[in-house]
Symmetry: C2
Subunit: 663 residues, 2 copies
Amino acid sequence: MNQARQRVVIENVYPEFDGGLFPAKRTVGQSVRVEADIHADGHDLLAAVLLFRDAGGREWSETAMRPAGNDRWSGEFRVESVGRAAYTLTAWVARFRSWQRDLEKKTGAGQEVSVELVSGARIAEEAAKRAKGADRKKLLAFARSILPGAGRGPEECAAAAMDESLGILADRYPDRCLVTEYGRELEVVVDREQARFSAWYEMFPRSCSPDRGRHGTLLDVKERLPYVASMGFDVLYLPPIHPIGRTHRKGRNNATASRPEDVGSPWAIGSPEGGHKAVHPQLGTVEDFSGLVRAARDLGIEIALDVAFQCSPDHPYVKEHPEWFRIRPDGTLQHAENPPKKYEDIVPFDFDTPSWRELWEELKSVVLFWAAKEVRIFRVDNPHTKPFAFWEWLIGEVKREHPDAIFLAEAFTRPKVMYRLAKAGFTQSYTYFAWRNTKPEIESYFRDLTQTEVREYFRPNLWPNTPDILTEQLQYGGRPAFMARLVLAATLGANYGIYGPAFELCENRAAAPGKEEYLDSEKYEIRRWDIDRPDSLREFIALVNRIRRESPPLREDGNLRFHPVDNDQLIAYSKSAADRSGAILMVVNLDPRHTQSGWVELPLEEFGLDPAAPFQGHDLLSGARFLWQGRRFYVELDPSAVPAHVIRLRRKVRTEKDFDYFM
Amino acid sequence: MNQARQRVVIENVYPEFDGGLFPAKRTVGQSVRVEADIHADGHDLLAAVLLFRDAGGREWSETAMRPAGNDRWSGEFRVESVGRAAYTLTAWVARFRSWQRDLEKKTGAGQEVSVELVSGARIAEEAAKRAKGADRKKLLAFARSILPGAGRGPEECAAAAMDESLGILADRYPDRCLVTEYGRELEVVVDREQARFSAWYEMFPRSCSPDRGRHGTLLDVKERLPYVASMGFDVLYLPPIHPIGRTHRKGRNNATASRPEDVGSPWAIGSPEGGHKAVHPQLGTVEDFSGLVRAARDLGIEIALDVAFQCSPDHPYVKEHPEWFRIRPDGTLQHAENPPKKYEDIVPFDFDTPSWRELWEELKSVVLFWAAKEVRIFRVDNPHTKPFAFWEWLIGEVKREHPDAIFLAEAFTRPKVMYRLAKAGFTQSYTYFAWRNTKPEIESYFRDLTQTEVREYFRPNLWPNTPDILTEQLQYGGRPAFMARLVLAATLGANYGIYGPAFELCENRAAAPGKEEYLDSEKYEIRRWDIDRPDSLREFIALVNRIRRESPPLREDGNLRFHPVDNDQLIAYSKSAADRSGAILMVVNLDPRHTQSGWVELPLEEFGLDPAAPFQGHDLLSGARFLWQGRRFYVELDPSAVPAHVIRLRRKVRTEKDFDYFM
């Protein structure tokens, strides 16, 4: 019977996931709009406040919540610091304002209200007792002013009593034992802006040498930085840079047997030279790596490392901690498998081991080791094959020391597992984007990601290709397909990435028909890429990345809206600024072979545009400017030129009245 | 790090409301289908069980949950006893069956598996260690049978290992420290059948006297019981039977002033003769009441009392406990009001009183007083003007002593308040049915009530009229409107009720144009009803109630489905048995003035009917039988005859092959 006297109910709070078990996500400067059903018995007016506390703060701040109809209330606050912000809600019966409302009805009906005025003055006096300083004085004066007598008639007092701001003030000091506190403190993980808006470039250091036949090094990667920067990427992600095992090393094209000169898969981590805290000798040293990080930073690029928690059979852990691995009845190590497939060059950790505490601590020390080398972005390999509880703990621990750390989950698995990993703490997540190619597929998937509660905790990072994925669309669609998929990735998602130079050079040879794997994959061999080829998409990519940086609406995900086009091969969507200051409209031709045309229909009012006035469209890809009027307009896209429009819509169009000689 | 080793996640459990704060509702013999998202890292197969415990039970029973696709699992259990049943979930990695699946893939690919067989035998042996008795022996034998050696080759062992039932048995004994327990125990309030299926009749005892001018008594009500029973009602609900106050007593038609002979509103409870635990002297005695309860029971009728927690200014509480009421600054009692309306004959309790504990206890004692007189059904007046916490406590307390108690919430207020009252414990709830008259209104409202989670805790009770509500539809639609609204109430809802004899006598005179109140309302005066009038709907009502009793699908709410008709004045819907054994189809003409006709379209397969075969429709209202084939058929309803069909659909139709001479 503890909460017996709390008449107000607070329920269906949003955002709140799994009873407050998991936080929503935001970046610094973003706001959190909180909604709840708030109601009570009877007909009294209510007051509700949203209490919020910035990361690192100790005191609650508060902001009023407002009713939005049907007993739904909402309030909003901004998060200012990286870390974990918190919010909760409080509501109570607004006794004074309820009294004001009733008084107004009674005087409106011509009823005598002198006794009511005394009641009202008492409510204000009680509030004054709970107030301090200026508020207390104001309330006491207010109470006196509505009390009839001393020359004040009831009518005059009733008029004074209607003061709305003083009514609100009176209700700010409710009897605390009648106040409903929501009870749960809900959290928001607040990240830096890169968590929300980033352009990734994945590259194999082994293939960065300008000298034919020589193994690329971290120094070569440093030389390649200006190239990456020239395309406008701000994250350079390197596959594992650690020593590579010898036992069962894979040969070219994933062959079971390797030749002595084969370099093996970088994901077969660990050799006598070291494990997850070492640099592969052929790439260089830890010092070289630190030099690379610094050089990259000078060009506005962050280095992202691969966190692949698995070992080659030669990893020092195997000898030092055999209890972290599964040993088969014949005494051999259990290698990774997905029956009947075998990955003999890799042994997984056994997370069911009774020594799990030591294992968890060691893996945490790996991440902290690289964090100490100024790495703050980690791309996590196959997180869905390790326990959720492990990730929740690990990411929580790392972010406690480095709240600016970013973790990208490379989990291509069932949707609920992917969402749970995001809830458990991953900052960004790979998606099914690579396999969403038709208009209905794209629209339905991105509605799920951006217009359901998923948007609160799952930040998509879109990749048209990866070293593991060369989709059919790219294999057979040629250069237009690469361009279209780039524009889709870069504009559907605020976070996106490509695996290069394979991407900009439109590499499309598959390992075998029907397979989505690369032929002669860098995963197993050194490739030489002619990055200066004239047909490279390098400049197109640079343009797209520049448009992204210069267009605030493209830096967000939740503002995505699809628009009807009367041609299934054309997809149209927009992102607009929350303040209606402008919108970016994308139209992409999904057919890499034929020119497609159609009529796009736009909800101009939502963009702050007047359907009755002309407006300008500026295609940021081609530079062309169009003048349009009305909700429908015609587009035509030739894939052999540029298969997409990225159009900035501008409200203001000059008219004759803008000229001096007008009038 | 407590749950660190539990790899399986259980989330999004249904039914679960507000984090398990509120129970779902069922009646004895119904089943509870429980669903949850259950998944884990990796590719292992999982096992999950639903644990359930009947009301009063101490041990958990369990039933296996089955995957239903997309990581959703479901299981089902039946509730057998009135009270509070509970359920929770447990899930774990099915190690042995995962091993079986992998073994199958490996042998299928022709791989050598002798070491795998040893691993499998070990998993089975570990399970055996945790098992007892016969299961232990079986598992040990199983482990031996799949271990190669002693004349058994790997192929033979692998074949033996595939035994599915033994795989399931092995996985029934998992390592407990790796098992995920959901943690929360969720509850189901289990009521007796009347909570789900009941037909209510409301009647004013004051108007039951057969002698003109004499105040009706409880003995007169007893005489009226056979009449109520003849119409097939099983609940007789009486407005408050307590002493009525004198101060500010209302006159006829809600007049502010009353004459000495005016009887006043029964809701102005309390006089020097007693309060909520007394019987109004003009109605009789507590003993008369007990006699009425017994006589009713003999006719299959339960008496429902009105719980109206408010007082007349003359109620003994006012003198004995002035602290339970609001006193105005001038020393007068604060009467009930909804400004500018005043209800001077009623003073509300002040639930904000510091003496709330005593008040709550006293009000509980009122309900228990009548429960001791064998009353188990309570219709609660305006519950939405008293705190939710009070009701949750009161209903919980009463049901602890009388788990068969039924509470009907008379809250005509905002939807979220109504739903919250239902969650807080009300067994049944009044609805907006009276004001849902057009086809889109009815369809949309009843979809909300029967096809969303609301169905789990909110049991609608549909009333076409009440002493407070005479809708425009009834005022102007005449007898056809009364018939149509009766059929709608009785077939859309498993629980419904009418206020009679006003209803069966088609009383339609309103207090004033535009008002939905009765002229010469029994709330303020004694009425004389000629219940033997030949135009009474008495027999039609009896027929409808008989059809309800004899048609199992009409005893439920969740099975309601609407069907298309190409005429907006015709509404078609069905209720079908869960086992597809039969369906009842309703078609109602919503226009009380004109014959309407149209084509109804039915999803025959959902009813277990073959669209390619003829089927029979038997109109239970008219007795007519139709032979139909195909999904669409024609209906025509003349409101001046009967404005509705209630059709039992029958699969079996005789053909020539049923006759002896065929062949």
